[in-house]
């Protein structure tokens, strides 16, 4: 039995004639308002707001009948409360010629439509590289901010979405290279780079610089290298940057060269081509960076590393 408290200055007051101060108790099953003092039924035929169906938790119901409509997305949408007419089911929804009555689905506002399209695109892109929900949410938020600002209005929404995805990955501390984002997007690296810089300026944020260690776990697992090799590669890359053996080289190239060196010193040897494919780096680039770190190879390995191939037998390119 539901108890409702009445506001004093609202709707037409239904009171018990004998006990005007008594707060009426609502019995929603029967649809009555009952005075608790004397039990008089004051109002009846109250509309039942409970659900019409019974739902059980163990039923694998793809649709939850107590929900009317999709889950609201209040943060991202404009609080869309419009009504849509769905396509009809059954014979009565079609008029004489076979066209459906009520053709127009009553489109929602066009601004939201563009944003919803972008969100769908972001989700699609993220699914391709298995990004977690928090990155997708962050990307959506960034996109919404950029979209509302309108400073990048002329740019393709897909480009902005890809750039937002890149920024979100960076901000979450798990950066993806531009090439990885390119692989799941139809936009070129150049355009994503341009949009990236524009968005940073528009939102007045900045991102941390990428380091070699950010990519080690991903590249090494994709290559199937054991944890020892991954840790060695991380150590090598960090040492190489500290000793300034590779000035001006992109951290991705240094990471790739470090992985090559570590894998060549272990039992799991990988070719430059394989590493280049995974990292998105050309094998000549790996060669160049490798040549820079090779002279100091002995200093770069971690002290507890078990060499399958000793340092002097490492390939020299």
């Amino acid at each position: 039995i539901l108890k409702t408290s009445r506001q004093i200055n609202s709707l037409p007051k239904v009171q018990c004639p004998n006990h005007p101060d008594a707060i009426l108790v609502e019995d929603y099953r029967a649809g009555d308002m009952i005075c608790p003092e004397c039990g008089l039924v004051v109002g009846d035929r109250v509309i039942d707001v409970g659900s019409e169906w019974r739902t059980f938790t163990n039923e694998k119901a793809t649709n939850d009948p107590s929900r009317v409509g999709d889950a609201q997305n209040p943060l991202l949408n404009g609080g869309d409360l419009s009504t849509m007419i769905s396509k009809g089911t059954g014979a009565a929804s079609f008029d004489e010629f076979g066209n459906s009555k009520y053709q127009n689905r009553r489109t929602m506002s066009s601004a939201d439509r563009a944003m919803l399209n972008a969100f769908k695109e972001i989700t699609t892109m993220s699914d391709r590289i298995n990004l977690p929900r928090n990155i997708i949410d962050r990307t959506n938020n960034l996109f919404k901010q950029v979209y509302e600002q309108k400073s990048l209005k002329g740019r393709s929404n897909d480009a902005i979405a890809s750039a937002c995805l890149y920024i979100a990955c960076r901000q979450e501390g798990v950066p993806r290279t531009f090439k990885e984002i390119c692989a799941v997007s139809r936009i070129s690296k150049k355009e994503i780079g341009r949009c990236f810089k524009l968005i940073l300026k528009a939102l007045e944020t900045s991102v941390d610089l990428i380091t070699t260690g950010d990519f080690m776990s991903r590249f090494c697992s994709n290559l199937g290298l054991p944890k020892q090799v991954q840790m060695a590669a991380t150590y090598i890359a960090r040492k190489a940057v500290e000793l300034d053996l590779v000035p001006g080289r992109s951290p991705i190239s240094v990471a790739a060269a470090a992985i090559y060196m570590a894998s060549q010193a272990s039992a799991e040897k990988k070719t430059q081509k394989e590493i280049g494919d995974i990292a998105g780096v050309a094998d000549v680039t790996i060669r160049q960076s490798y040549r820079l770190i090779y002279p100091r190879a002995a200093d770069l390995f971690p002290p507890d590393f078990k060499f399958d191939t000793p340092v002097d037998k490492l390939p020299q390119l």
Partner: protein, 304 residues
């Protein structure tokens, strides 16, 4: 003519050592080597196409500059300290100051956050060299690009690719884009005077082909300079401290892109210590920007 660098006055935007706010003048002593063909005086906006006169004028000015410089060199004692008196004497004896105005007085620039904060220090001995000047001029009459392309030497015209005639001359080594509206863009010159001379030569070529070409609104649109600070730079440190001006994305470009607000110049700073400055309308902006960035770069010198 090599000169002693200690004679250089301090960069604009700094208080003088005495602590008084003296109006600062640009750094460039006329004895500094700029490159050939520099005209110290403001260029007159003449519409007549007299190339010979132009060249003669240039030569005269060069002679004047050399005369004034040699006079000064003998007159001044090197290594004297930077007193305001020195400034005034420099101003009075010489007409040879770079830039477009003879008396290039910069008002004392306040230490706003938009200017990179610089400690009071001596100026660097390094002068950025100009590498490229882009200028535009209006020839004042409609042109038929096809006849120009057919009759002129060293001209290419591919209307499907680009709607202008691309013409090149060897001295000064420049390229011009000539549009059918009569407007022309001249690129590749190494100094303002060379750019103007080259534009006049192109206009002369067009005139000889029979068009009533004039020389209206010659304006330098962009100047690019480069220099070397001779030490390696820690770009990561620079991007951390000057976040609002810098953009360093090694995946996109190996250099750091520094957008200075005052003067509005974009600098490309590389790990090797080479710096490219672009976006200037006048020579002085390049020098000023470099003097602003030099102390900052010194602070991020690589120690190994």
């Amino acid at each position: 003519m090599e000169q002693n660098n200690s004679l250089t006055p301090f960069p604009p935007g700094l208080a003088s050592p005495q602590g008084a706010m003296t109006p600062v003048l640009p750094i460039f002593s006329p004895m500094m080597p700029y490159g050939t063909g520099l005209t110290p005086q403001p260029v007159q906006n003449t519409n007549s196409l007299s190339l010979l006169e132009e060249q003669q004028r240039q030569q005269q000015q060069q002679q004047q500059q050399q005369a004034a410089a040699s006079q000064q060199q003998s007159g001044m004692v090197g290594g004297s300290g930077q007193t305001p008196q020195l400034y005034h004497s420099q101003v009075s004896t010489t007409t040879a100051l770079p830039g477009n105005t003879p008396l290039y007085t910069t008002p004392l620039t306040p230490m706003t956050p938009i200017t990179p904060a610089t400690p009071a220090s001596e100026s660097s001995g390094i002068v950025p060299q100009l590498q490229n000047i882009v200028s535009t001029v209006n020839l004042g009459c409609k042109l038929d690009l096809k006849t120009i392309a057919l009759r002129a030497r060293n001209a290419e015209y591919n209307p499907k690719r680009f709607a202008a005639v691309i013409m090149r001359i060897r001295e000064p080594r420049t390229t011009a884009l000539i549009f059918s509206s009569g407007k022309m863009v001249c690129t590749g010159a190494k100094s303002e005077e060379q750019s103007r001379l080259a534009a006049r030569k192109y206009a002369r070529v067009v005139q000889k082909l029979g068009f009533p070409a004039k020389f209206l609104d010659f304006k330098i649109q962009n100047m690019v300079g480069s220099c070397d600070v001779k030490f390696p730079i820690r770009l990561e440190g620079l991007v951390l401290t000057h976040q609002q001006f810098s953009s360093y994305e090694p995946e996109l470009f190996p250099g750091l892109i520094y957008r200075m607000i005052k003067p509005r110049i974009v600098l490309l700073i590389f790990v090797s210590g080479k710096v490219v400055l672009t976006g200037a309308k006048v020579r002085g902006e390049i020098y000023e920007a470099f003097e602003n960035i030099y102390p900052i770069l010194k602070g991020f010198r690589k120690t190994t």
